[in-house]
């Protein structure tokens, strides 16, 4: 099975006008045509899954994922009930919903599936599915927007979703149902008088759309809090959907973006935007926020003294074996760019045309920190850690040692890998391998062992071609 992927992402507006009365206003009509165009593109991309993150479905107990295979009801909008009713009958991929729920739990994120007759599917989801998937040909999943969730939860929610897409080989389309500026007129208006509520809202919307048109999704994600303050009705639900959508696209800034329409709906900013995963020219990104892999629990915002945010990148000081200076000998190869040994041995040793490396772990030279987090604390209590980050750090350390010796990663011939938890970590380790050493092509043996001397989950023993001596 080929690995699953995101084949496209869309941002769509939430209000029911585009479904019920597009003919009443030229702008609503243009939004409707953009919806139709998006539906055609989704069909042409051979998508087999539509994932809706809806801002009009708030939740409190974690995130909720719709898991009723065929939810049916009649939706009437709380505000725009006079425009009519929208009967719906959707095709939901309940298996995917359950798998996503489990993937969330694995990443420390609370969520639950909902499967109840008569569950009120929210207006944003109903509009998106009605127009993007008019014949229900593509199975869908819908996820709520947790009112208390911040960036870390929302990012991890996306990563867990990607885990399932990849594992199940799906060709998925990610959709956020949302307004840009969401300030509406607070009194009824004639359809012909519709416009963006204020010039300021309009200017912000256009700036956001300029970024999105250039495929700079992560930039919009990083501006999320600012955007919320500037053009959003101040309530608990923040401008979160861009965190989710950027997470669904590996937090990239070099997508290929196209704004299909931008219009007012009762004063709010409604846009249909297509983000194609194909890399485009832009791509520089500031990246000033953590790339969160696991959700480490509530931040207890009301109890400052119990601040418990765990940042997996940072490594607490852990007890462990004493560090040694690498031993030196005529054929030893040692590197300041590699972590200190935990015993009396050199980093590597040259024998003829071959270079034998001592076991290399993920510890960082200098700080001794463990990327992806240690597997246990100083008292031996298990901690959540990221095997991919650890594996990547091992490969980086190997690269440094080989470069110090005058060679490169391309010289690696044979690797013996040690994992402390094969069941948990093999796939993540294997994924990083495939993108790094797998491309070099050494022989490989992977073993499960009980423990390593420091709180790490992976170590590699490497034999490489020795670089030519000058």
């Amino acid at each position: 099975m080929t690995e699953g992927e995101i084949v496209g992402s869309y941002i769509v507006p939430v209000h029911p006008h585009t479904v019920l009365v597009p003919e009443q206003n030229e702008g609503w009509q243009r939004l409707r045509l953009a919806f139709d165009e998006a539906a055609q593109r989704i069909k042409d991309a051979d998508a087999d899954l539509l994932i809706i993150y809806s801002t009009t479905w708030p939740s409190i107990i974690g995130h909720q994922i719709q898991a009723n295979p065929n939810p049916e009801w009649v939706m009437v909008d709380d505000d725009f009930h006079d425009l009519g009713s929208i009967p719906y009958s959707f095709n939901i991929d309940a298996d995917f919903a359950h798998a996503w729920n489990e993937a969330n739990e694995k990443r420390g994120l609370k969520s639950r599936t909902v499967n109840y007759t008569g569950f009120p599917i929210d207006v944003g989801s109903v509009v998106a599915l009605k127009l993007l998937n008019p014949d229900n040909a593509i199975p869908a999943v819908i996820v709520s927007s947790n009112v208390y969730a911040n960036r870390s939860e929302t990012t991890v929610l996306a990563k867990a979703c990607l885990d399932v897409i990849k594992a199940t080989g799906r060709k998925a389309v990610a959709v956020t149902a949302m307004s840009l500026s969401n300030r509406m007129f607070t009194a009824p208006i004639e359809p012909k008088d519709d416009k963006i509520h204020s010039l300021k809202d309009d200017e912000w919307n256009r700036k956001i759309l300029e970024f999105l048109g250039e495929g700079r999704l992560e930039d919009v994600g990083q501006l999320s809090r600012t955007i919320h303050k500037q053009i959003r009705v101040q309530k608990v639900v923040a401008f979160k959907p861009m965190w989710w959508l950027s997470g669904m696209n590996d937090n990239r800034n070099n997508l290929t973006g196209e704004v299909l329409a931008y219009e007012a709906i009762h004063g709010a900013g409604g846009a249909v935007v297509h983000l194609d995963p194909a890399a485009s020219g832009a791509g520089d990104k500031e990246y000033d926020e953590d790339d969160v892999e696991y959700f480490a629990g509530e931040r207890n915002v009301l109890d400052a003294e119990e601040e418990t945010e765990i940042i997996v990148e940072a490594t607490p000081k852990t007890s462990g074996p004493a560090l040694w200076e690498p031993t030196t000998g005529a054929d030893s190869v040692n590197s300041d760019a590699a972590p200190k040994p935990v015993g009396m041995y050199p980093h590597a040793r040259r024998v003829g045309d071959l270079l034998y490396l001592s076991g290399v772990g993920p510890r960082q030279p200098g700080t001794n920190a463990i990327p992806g987090g240690p597997i246990s604390d100083g008292q031996g209590n298990p901690l959540e850690y990221d095997i991919k980050a650890q594996t990547q750090a091992v490969v980086d350390n190997i690269t440094r040692i080989l470069e110090e010796a005058g060679g490169s990663i391309e010289d690696v011939l044979d690797v013996t890998s040690f994992l402390v938890d094969m069941d948990r970590d093999f796939s993540g380790y294997n994924e990083v391998w495939a993108n790094t050493l797998g491309r070099v092509g050494p022989t490989r043996t992977t073993l499960a062992i009980r423990a390593l001397p420091t709180p790490i989950a992976v170590e590699m023993k490497v034999i490489a071609k020795a670089p030519k001596l000058n």
Binding site: I61, D82, Y148, T186, D303
Partner: protein, 333 residues
């Protein structure tokens, strides 16, 4: 002849609704000579669906092993207090019918459907069948429009009534034998500020009171909201496990007790004065406007209210309070 009849109807309609100056005078005279309407009681009656869930009424699908008894006993005391009091209708404002384009009113005589709570669908899937006092609703609606508030009648028969209205409606009057007036929660607090929200709700309260008094009906008015409103974000395996229930923080508790103290000592004006701080610091569900509207409808009472119960629900603070206006008639003139 065929042209005169519609004109005549329009004229009568205009007079009945006070649409011109002459009619205004006429209606006022009529109001004085008719039986004066009356607010028999005002109530703060919160709507966490957990209360209906814990009670296991036949209308609700999920089954519970009890829970939140302190609050359910509080509702029992409230019902007992009004058992022998006659009234014609219940006027209720719930924060879970959220409208941004003005204030809306349920405008059809009957609504019957299944209400599934989108946040706690595991606890609340309730088959409701409720009647609306469309006549009284129209009176409040029209007066609010005259006062310059943006208002709209909700006349779509497919509309599903929000779970807040259903929960409070059930807990207050499980027989459902009184017609309701159901008012949406205008989200002006989200748009502007607590101050603007409160200004609008005080105005809405004034016209609600006027409409009730002019209607000749006896009415109970209810604000359906919690006090402090910071939830836990996790639910125990057994939602009704009372060993897990407590207020989310000491600060929330202090705010709730302060409000209850004002309720019990007749300091409604002080509540209105402190509403911005309370709503923001206690993340209170008074953000929906219900409490401000209620106190205004009760003409900012100075007599003590009765506290029928207090308890927490997944960390939020909930008080069941009654202002027995029937015992303080001098205040209602």
């Amino acid at each position: 002849m065929c042209q005169i009849a519609p004109l005549f109807e329009a004229w009568v309609y205009g007079r009945l609704n006070g649409r011109n100056a002459d009619a205004d005078i006429a209606t006022k005279h009529v109001a004085l000579s008719m039986t004066q309407g009356e607010i028999v009681a005002g109530c703060l009656a919160p709507h966490p669906p957990h209360l209906v869930y814990a009670e296991n009424p036949p209308q609700n699908e999920p089954v519970a092993e009890g829970g939140w008894e302190q609050l359910r006993w509080g509702y029992e005391r409230l019902r007992e207090s009004l058992k022998d009091v006659e009234y014609d209708a219940i006027v209720l404002l719930s924060p879970h019918w959220q409208t941004y384009v003005g204030t809306h009113f349920l405008g059809l005589p009957n609504f019957k459907s299944l209400s599934v709570d989108p946040v706690f669908p595991n606890l609340f899937r309730y088959h409701y069948d409720l009647n609306i006092d469309v006549d009284l609703t129209s009176k409040i609606h029209d007066k609010a429009a005259e006062a310059g508030l943006a208002v709209k009648m909700m006349e779509n028969p497919d509309f599903r009534v929000d779970y807040g209205t259903i929960t409070t409606g059930h807990m207050f009057n499980p027989a459902w034998d009184k017609p309701l007036v159901v008012i949406s929660s205008n989200r002006s607090r989200d748009y502007y500020s607590v101050e603007v929200m409160q200004e609008m709700m005080i105005e809405l309260g004034k016209v609600t009171r006027e409409a009730i008094l002019e209607s000749g009906k006896k009415v109970v008015v209810i604000a359906s909201n919690s006090l402090s409103h910071r939830h836990f974000t996790t639910e125990s395996a057994i939602p009704e496990d009372m060993s897990k229930e407590h207020i989310t923080s000491h600060a929330m508790h202090l705010w709730d007790m302060r409000m209850i103290d004002y309720f019990r000592t007749g300091q409604a004006q002080r509540i209105l004065n402190e509403m911005p701080e309370f709503t923001e610091q206690a993340i209170a569900e008074s953000d929906g406007g219900g409490l401000s509207w209620l106190l205004s409808t009760l003409d900012v009472p100075t007599y003590p209210a009765t506290l029928h119960g207090y308890g927490t629900i997944i960390g939020t603070g909930n008080a069941i309070v009654e202002w027995p206006e029937r015992d303080h008639k001098e205040a209602s003139q």
